[in-house]
């Protein structure tokens, strides 16, 4: 990214707020073991204890410390989202590049498969993928969320390639005798990075939400694993009771991280906009 774009991004206050939110959660996730104080999957105290000096966020129905579960949940949720997006990038970028660059029947075939995948509601598709496994875990959540995002990635990358392909510098690379592979990775891909970065950022927010959603539906890791969706499911039945410390923190954490990624993604989109001065 050029200096000019960095400056545009740095001046964008909402984007910086998003970056700070994400940064905070990342720090928490990385140092979860230190910050967490307790083992998140071991009974510490009585059940559903109110917040106190020993347990800042109280304890849940199993007597597990909520604070350390929240902190370790950040690690699980962020990792799941990042892995799912990485999976979508790994599959979606090469297929999108090939579809856009080669065109013809290859493009037709790939895009028809994409159309079929997009025809299903994403939650339904994710549930279907998760249901393929006998025992669901964080890994199956990653896979389900990743698979659901692949068609969008293919589409966006293909659209970006179609914009770059007719430009003369691509023809120039061909005129020099560069191979198709070289043209794709050295000429076309670097000029498609901007929309891919924006998409990946926005998708990470969506992935956190989807992963939590799957866990909430019972298609995620076991109930004792510290993960925000699982915790939210635990607290769901308690909303009517005055046990706010069990259901409020995971809900807020999910909302806040998704907000952070959306703000940063929007800011990146503005920074990459060629019409920016």
């Amino acid at each position: 990214m050029s200096d000019r774009r960095w400056k545009t991004l740095r001046r964008n206050k909402t984007a910086m707020v998003g970056a700070v939110i994400i940064g905070m959660f990342v720090v928490v996730a990385v140092f979860a073991g230190v910050i967490g104080r307790y083992d998140p999957e071991a009974r510490q105290d009585e059940f559903r204890a109110e917040p106190s000096a020993a347990h800042w966020m109280g304890t849940d129905k199993n007597g597990f410390d909520m604070w350390s579960r929240m902190v370790h949940g950040a690690r699980a949720s962020l990792m799941a989202a990042v892995c799912a997006v990485a999976f979508a990038l790994f599959i979606g970028v090469p297929l999108g590049l090939i579809a856009g660059y080669r065109g013809g029947w290859i493009d037709g075939t790939i895009m028809r498969v994409v159309d079929v995948m997009l025809a299903f509601p994403s939650v339904l598709l994710a549930v279907a993928v998760a249901a393929l496994f006998e025992r669901t875990s964080l890994f199956t959540v990653i896979l389900a969320v990743g698979v659901v995002m692949v068609p969008t990635f293919i589409r966006q990358v293909r659209a970006a390639v179609l914009q770059v392909k007719p430009l003369e510098y691509v023809t120039a690379a061909r005129a020099l005798g560069a191979s198709d592979r070289r043209i794709l990775f050295r000429t076309v891909l670097p000029n498609c990075i901007a929309p891919i970065v924006v998409l990946a950022t926005l998708s990470t927010g969506v992935a956190i939400l989807d992963a939590a959603g799957l866990s909430f539906l019972g298609l995620g890791p076991e109930a004792t694993v510290p993960e925000w969706g699982v915790m939210l499911k635990d607290g769901f039945s308690l909303v009517r009771q005055n046990l706010y410390w069990i259901w409020l923190p995971p809900g807020l954490a999910i909302a806040l991280t998704v907000l952070g990624f959306n703000l940063l993604g929007d800011g990146l989109r503005d920074a990459f906009d060629p019409r920016q001065i």
Partner: protein
Amino acid sequence: MSGNGDLLVVRNLKKYFPIRKGVFSRVVAQVKAVDNVSFHIDRGETLGLVGESGCGKTTLGRAILRLIEPSAGEIAFDGVDVLSLKGAAMRRMRRRMQIIFQDPYSSLNPRMTVLDIVGEALHVHGIARGREREERVKQLLERVGLASRYVNRYPHEFSGGQRQRIGVARALALNPSFIVADEAVSALDVSIQAQVINLLVDLREEFGLSYLFIAHDLSVVRHISDRIAVMYLGEIVETAGSDDLFDRPLHPYTEALLSAVPVADPTRERARIVLTGDVPTPIDPPSGCHFHPRCPLVEKICSEVPPGVTDAQNGHTFRCHVVARQFPDEATTPVESAAP
């Protein structure tokens, strides 16, 4: 027809773009962008190619380099049948034939440094890497009139004229013998145009280059070309030595084009021939001679029979029924075996 000095011989080259419609992509029509074009370029020679916008000049230039795959015809480069080359063999051939683009903005990759843009070809063909490559790129930059300290800059840091010089350096990197200059100066200011043209002329002497110089500005073309070919609606209608063409235009279309060139002499009276109508669409070109709907000399035969190639001597050829009558019958080759 073609002596031993030929570097490039193009014969009956065609490029039709199909227009597809409907669910099954049925071909409903063809855009005949290049239709049966034949010409040759000698070693060290510059052929100017002129014509209105949309007449197929750019398509022709790119079809020769196979940046657009021709539909039919023959291209012989230094005796090698270019159209039969595949994959790696074609990429090796590209070392010898290069192109300079019209738009100095879209023709340079914005995410590469000058070093990578100019040096890419050296890397691709394994000619030079690392330090050596940088040295070569610096030499090339100096040669086209840019400071060698610019190697690590990006295209957006340069002006239009400087960018076009980078484009020239890129084309020169492989030490080619033939360059297609596709409207290479059309996008530049007049003062910069002159500098770039002079650079191209100098490089031609120094490296023994042949050019196909595509342009729509006749005075520019006259200055740089040894011979000029005039194109109309996908066909070459007249070819002649530069001065010959200007002194003795034979095709009525060439005459009309030349009359549009301003002369820096207010005392000289000139008849301005203004063509009526627009360029017809190449999807369904007029029958017979493509020029007949706009031609001041039009006769009945013009809309019925495509004109053959008439040899007016000194390598001057044209395609016109009416003007051909000033020449003996045997000077005209009928259209079936036409090859000027």
